[in-house]
Symmetry: C2
Subunit: 415 residues, 2 copies
């Protein structure tokens, strides 16, 4: 017997037929003797409609009222799923954020969870009642409904799993797990049976859009096993702890026996590079550059600054999302005197490729292999950054697919 | 300066344009120096969709989950109206039943209001903030959302007006007030400037579908002035206490100066008559008849039993809605031996016409005038019941319009 949190997104509860399917899946877990809580999103399309209404009435609408409107989407799903479960003989009860309560701060529209009181839910789950919980929402100290921001249902589910001391949190999504890289680029990409929180964070933050980053962070902090699986896979209750489970288990690295050196290759084509030439090499210059960019809401990613040869000036390169490229240039030109550089250059025709693996920590020369392999393919590396379990390379956008395939093969992920 | 509760039904908030119109009306009351709370229904069509989903998933769905689903309709409207008000410079805040709270019993799907804590709302209204309140719902002692049943928003509004010690409760509807009778039958029908609670209750319960009966009862008990007006009339703030206000004020009879003897004529064509012949005239026989009918959910209306001539048997006549006619006959035939009657007869081709007026209490002969006038029109009266401020006549359905016109003219309502 396990205690499980199951999370279903909007496409999994898009209509009444989908909701009935979810009820059948939940029933199977209950019949296997598990205690179950279910976290649901709004029916697909609902949230967009509600958000659209708010924006139509007032582009600068009050976030508290926005939350009041938008949170109804999940409430409807909880009630409908509870009814569906009862209809097939499973005891169930719906719960909104204010009823449990799921306490958050008062940052309406993008609130953060402060705490969840799980005792009453645990008591009921122990009697066999399924708790059907609205994702994406909570209640602020102002006694008003808060929402966690788009995609917040993953975070709700993991936070609830932590509060309920659940054995795992099953996230049902459109994909059937986490892959070594994008199968559309590399057909040999393999689904990972397990991946550590740290690796998943690096994969997610560089473009593998399976899970909200916040939910993985939360899982890591509270050591909640997150099992990513498809809403459309066969519903047989296959062991998520097996060698070949139906999805991917995101867990502590200590639970991963045969750790590969490299776990996955991520990439992002939506990058632009900006280089600032002949920046004075003195204290405060980085602040003079990145302060104004942050104020302008430009999201800076890779930053590369080399040690200057002569101790007087240096070049500084960083990347931004392509959509921020023009804005970043405008901001930097305004700051030209304050920074004191000589000129800017850059390109929107670049891509970032990242190699991720916890095993890198104990294996030397992992990056060096990449440099050699890419050179053999005549792929030029514009910039390099490294962290403990990841290194990222900035290359010409046109060579992205070739680079990803080369690296995927190089690190034995094709097998 | 007055404290006002304004209530808008589903057709008044059917889409964003309608909600903006409502906001403009509310703003006008605020600018006139009034403290305002607004009670809203779900956008037209929403509740039916939500109810339909619950029924689709389970015909015998859990009323608690039904309430969770259906109550979202009003929640959406409150948030959208608050946003609309803020957009035009009116401070506003939405309130759900559980936030105020509006306490109810736990009779989910048709709960009754137990109490409303108005202090915080009054405090905010006194600072100029408009309270936008979800109609039709509250919170049970089980900490779950309850709904008051269809049409419950009128009741919410009047209950809120009582809790807030409001000077009046403005109910905006599809019609522009309460008429002496149905203008589709009698073109000379007049809109009433004022009507007493008691008369309104009699009018409403016999088919004038302007307000929920419960809301009028509540208004009478707490002496809340209810002002029925059209959502579509000119929005100028015309005095509801004037001789010719834009709508109808439902108030205590002491506020009505020139009381007419007869206030209005109501009628219902959806009636069926059942007569039970040769019923033993002894104690317990009425219970033997109406007990089984109540158990079968047959809604019995007029009951006429005459004093028996010989002290042994009597005839007993009553009316039911046409849709219950067959069921009532089945029930009565099963009870034939228990009741001991000789035979049943009846008709679905009957109508009930009611004459209502508080003035009847002090004027003799009001009903007698009706009998004479109808006789002159060759309209046969099948049965008669009377109460203090109303008498009802059962006639052939085909003569309904003629009877209503005759009575409307007879009592001077055409002028």
């Amino acid at each position: 017997m396990s205690r499980i949190v199951m999370k279903f997104g909007g496409t999994s509860v898009a209509d009444l037929a989908c909701i009935r399917n979810v009820a059948t899946r939940v029933k199977r877990e209950v019949e296997a003797g598990n205690e179950v809580a279910v976290v649901v999103s709004a029916m697909a399309g609902t949230t967009n409609q509600l958000v659209g209404w708010c924006q139509d009435l007032s582009p600068l609408h009050d976030a508290r009222e926005y939350d009041t409107v938008v949170a109804t989407g999940e409430q409807v799903t909880t009630g409908l799923l509870a009814i569906s479960l009862q209809e097939i003989g499973v005891e169930a009860r719906s719960w909104q954020g204010w009823q449990i309560p799921i306490r958050t701060d008062n940052d309406h529209g993008k609130a953060r969870i402060a705490g969840i009181e799980g005792a009453e839910l645990i008591r009921r789950m122990q009697t066999g009642q399924v708790a059907v919980v609205s994702g994406f929402q909570g209640i602020g100290t102002d006694n008003r409904v808060t929402t966690l921001g788009r995609g917040g249902s993953d975070t709700s589910a993991v936070a609830l799993a932590a509060a309920l001391h659940a054995d795992r949190c099953d996230i049902y999504t459109d994909v059937d797990g986490v892959y070594t890289t994008d199968p559309r680029i590399v057909p040999q990409a393999k689904k990972l049976a397990r991946i550590s929180y740290e690796e998943m964070l690096e994969l997610a933050s560089v473009g593998a859009k399976v899970l909200q980053v916040r939910s993985v962070e939360l899982g890591m902090v509270h050591n909640v096993r997150i099992f990513v699986r498809s809403s459309f896979d066969k519903p047989e209750d296959i062991d998520p702890f097996a060698n070949h489970p139906p999805g991917t288990l995101i867990c502590d690295e200590s639970e991963i026996m045969e750790q590969q050196v490299v776990t996955g290759i991520a990439f992002s084509k939506d990058e632009a590079q900006i280089s600032i030439r002949h920046v004075p090499d003195k204290p405060g210059v980085a602040a003079a550059i990145f302060g104004p960019l942050a104020e302008a809401n430009v999201n800076v990613d890779m930053i590369v600054q080399n040690v200057s040869a002569d101790g007087s000036t240096t070049d500084l390169t960083f990347t931004v999302p392509s959509s921020d490229y023009e804005r970043a240039n405008v901001v930097l030109k305004k700051s030209k005197d304050a920074i004191g550089y000589s000129y800017l250059d850059g390109s929107t025709d670049v891509a970032k490729v990242s190699v991720i693996g916890i095993g890198m920590r104990s294996h030397a020369g992992v990056a060096a292999q990449a440099f050699k392999a890419l050179a053999e393919q005549q792929i030029n590396i514009r910039a390099i950054t490294t962290s403990e379990i990841k290194f990222s390379l900035l290359i010409d956008a046109a060579r992205t697919d070739a680079a990803v395939r080369t690296l995927h093969s190089l690190y034995g992920l094709d097998k």
